[in-house]
Amino acid sequence: MESTLLEHINSARKLRKAVAVVTDLTTGVARLVDTANVDDDPLQGEIVSRLKSGKSGIVETPVGETFIQVHVPPLRLVIIGAVHISQALAPMAQACGLDVLVMDPRTAFATAARFEGVALLAQWPQDALNADQLDRFTALVAVTHDPKIDDYPITQALQSECFYIGALGSRKTHGKRCERLSAAGLSETQLARISAPIGLDIGAASPQEIAVAVMAQIIEARRKKASF
């Protein structure tokens, strides 16, 4: 592989663009294909479907085997709430390869000292969260327990292609949340996308254990449900 191709692959991934690297396994010659130039590619149909599914693999062509490797963007996790659970969840998600952003307008919670090495915004989601950036490679969890902070980002996520939306709170709390969001115009189908109570049911009790349950549920959503 030429070093310039390697650089192009890495910069596309940084820009959160899905790209395919198409390598002729007989000659070793490789090319980068993205949505801009896929229509001109001889393997157009195959590449389009793989860019969508995220599945890499070998295709047989008249001149031999070709390997199509799909690079989907790194998964992103937006955590609403700089709380104790988030302090455990953020590094755990980073270890799993996710880009993590923590957002909380309460400056006492959103401090660099509590979230070393994590992107942190001490702002209201209403000001800092851009709906366009909630793409299908993004998971959002809302764990402040405060409707004033949580409801807006949950609503934005429900109107986006986010692959996972989780919200902290008991069944009762979630029931009230659904009433509020429903009154604000969200449909039953949309509300059903929220994982609540949040996390896989492993009996998690401590903040750290809850973080494990949430991370596991995000992985499940990505590996068993998402279409990439």
Binding site: L25, G117, A119, Q133
Partner: protein
């Protein structure tokens, strides 16, 4: 929401073999990339997984659960020297022959290519 400025500080570069390959190459090290291109049966890493190797035999990433990396590193160092890509195939380990293989019973093909200027 802006993540661009802080991404480089917060994303663990060690989690990403292709970033490492680019860094190593930029630092003047000779580099090869090994990629799982096909799997059969119970394979430890999925298609598209990478191991990156430098000319000294240092490596990051994985193409199996640690079963065949040693052999891939050996072949990659050779690929760096010749400048030519190669295809490797690993199957079930033959324990009596102390052969390199996958104890999980799967089979994988690994494409090894040097990073060229």
């Amino acid at each position: 929401m802006s993540m661009t400025a802080s991404d480089e500080n917060t994303t663990n570069p060690l989690a990403d073999p292709l970033e490492i390959a680019q860094q190593w190459h930029a630092n003047g090290r000779s580099v090869a990339i090994a990629t799982v291109v096909e799997t059969w049966g119970s394979a430890p890493r999925q298609v598209g997984s990478h191991l990156v190797i430098d000319g000294e035999g240092n490596f990051e990433g994985s193409v199996s659960g640690g079963c065949v990396e040693g052999a891939v590193v050996f072949e990659a160092v050779e690929a760096i020297e010749t400048g030519k890509p190669k295809m490797l195939e690993f199957g079930v380990a033959d324990e009596t022959a102390w052969e390199v293989g996958l104890s999980c019973g799967g089979r994988i093909r690994v494409y090894v290519e040097p990073v060229t200027v």
